[in-house]
């Protein structure tokens, strides 16, 4: 029997990356500026987190234009959804175990 922390994935467990995946999982695609605003991240910081997630195959980036303005859209992949689901399950299990031990 493994302890729930063993199921936490370092790529997903990081607070901001978890936030990116959570938001992306709620939509068909989400725009870069929206993530900056909601997660209160600088463009540079967000870019770094996106690069980690993209390298892990959890998101894909779509470049496009809105009129003449360039836009970057983030789309969560199937692997991203699975990883997020596993992470949430592991976190919930951790909390439940702690509460069960306390009571």
């Amino acid at each position: 029997m493994t302890y729930p922390t063993g199921n936490l994935d370092d790529t997903v467990h990081q607070r901001h990356r978890l936030g990116i995946l959570t938001i992306a999982s709620e939509a068909s695609r989400v725009e870069f500026t929206y993530l900056c605003e909601v997660l209160q991240l600088t463009r540079g910081n967000l870019n770094r987190h996106l690069a980690v997630l993209e390298e892990a195959g959890l998101i894909t980036l779509e470049k496009g234009y809105d009129g003449r303005r360039p836009k970057t859209w983030i789309v969560i992949t199937r692997e991203g959804r699975v990883a997020l689901s596993k992470e949430i399950t592991a976190l919930e299990e951790l909390v439940h175990r702690h509460r069960a031990r306390e009571s």
Binding site: T5, R15, L18, G19, T22, I23, E26, A27, S28, R29, V30, E31, T33, Y34, L35, E37, V38, L39, D66, K71, W73, I88, L91, E92, L94, V95, R97, H98, R99, R101
Partner: protein, 226 residues
């Protein structure tokens, strides 16, 4: 150590829930399809009155060459609604920065709208499904099916409630002559069979579903963030 991990996990889960609610609120854009299909449903009411008048005309005078012309109007409205919904969701996505895919509801609206025009080609299905198509009100059910897919995609309690009410009002209007209930209602208020506005009441079955969608669309709250 364990307590710290549990506290951190609990905080992360709280943050995830806040972010999920915020994203869901920001991407909701179902006000437009509700108002469009509510308005369109209402606009079909006079068509049933016209159809009733035309069918009552004696042989030799003008009638529509195609009996299912109302179904064609429904199909046109459903396809237009599907196209406009795609445009609306893209526009909202560009403005809000977060986008929901309306693909499933738009496919359903477009294909289900054509069902009344093709059901007669399928002998067994035609025999089994005739109660759904005989009154030329199947468009109501096509709208309802698309709304169910939209509510699934949007995960909105408001949209689920309106969709449930709309479907509950649409199904009897598709499989039953709702005019009979309106005749009874008018009769209760003292209208005699001779005075009964039979022609006008032909459009009555679509009124309640239309009203539900319009009120549902108008009562969508604009969300604000703390």
């Amino acid at each position: 150590m364990t307590q710290n991990a549990a506290n951190e996990a609990s905080n992360l889960l709280d943050e995830v829930n806040v972010l999920r609610d915020r994203a869901r609120t920001d991407r909701h854009a179902f006000r437009f399809p509700m108002l469009f299909f509510g308005g369109f449903t209402l606009a079909t009411a006079p068509l049933y009155v016209i159809d009733f008048e035309l069918r009552g005309r004696p042989e030799g005078t003008f009638t529509w060459p195609f009996r299912e012309w109302i179904d064609l109007v429904w199909l046109a409205g459903l396809v237009a609604g599907a196209g406009l919904t795609v445009w609306w969701y893209r526009r909202h996505g560009h403005r809000a920065g977060i986008q929901t895919s309306p693909r499933n509801p738009t496919i359903i609206w477009s294909t289900a709208g054509a069902a009344p025009l093709v059901w007669t080609l399928l002998p067994l299905a035609g025999f089994l499904l005739w109660p759904f198509f005989i009154r030329n009100t199947f468009g109501l059910l096509a709208v309802a099916l698309g709304l169910i897919a939209l509510a699934w995609a949007e995960r909105s309690r408001h949209l689920w409630i309106v969709t449930a009410l709309y479907t509950a009002a649409a199904v009897p209007a598709v499989v039953y002559d709702m005019q009979n209930q309106y005749y009874r209602l008018f009769h209760l208020f003292g209208v005699s069979p001779q005075e009964m506005p039979y022609g006008l009441l032909q459009g009555s079955p679509v009124l309640l579903p239309a009203l539900i969608l319009l009120v549902g669309g108008l009562t969508v709250r604009r969300k604000t963030h703390p």
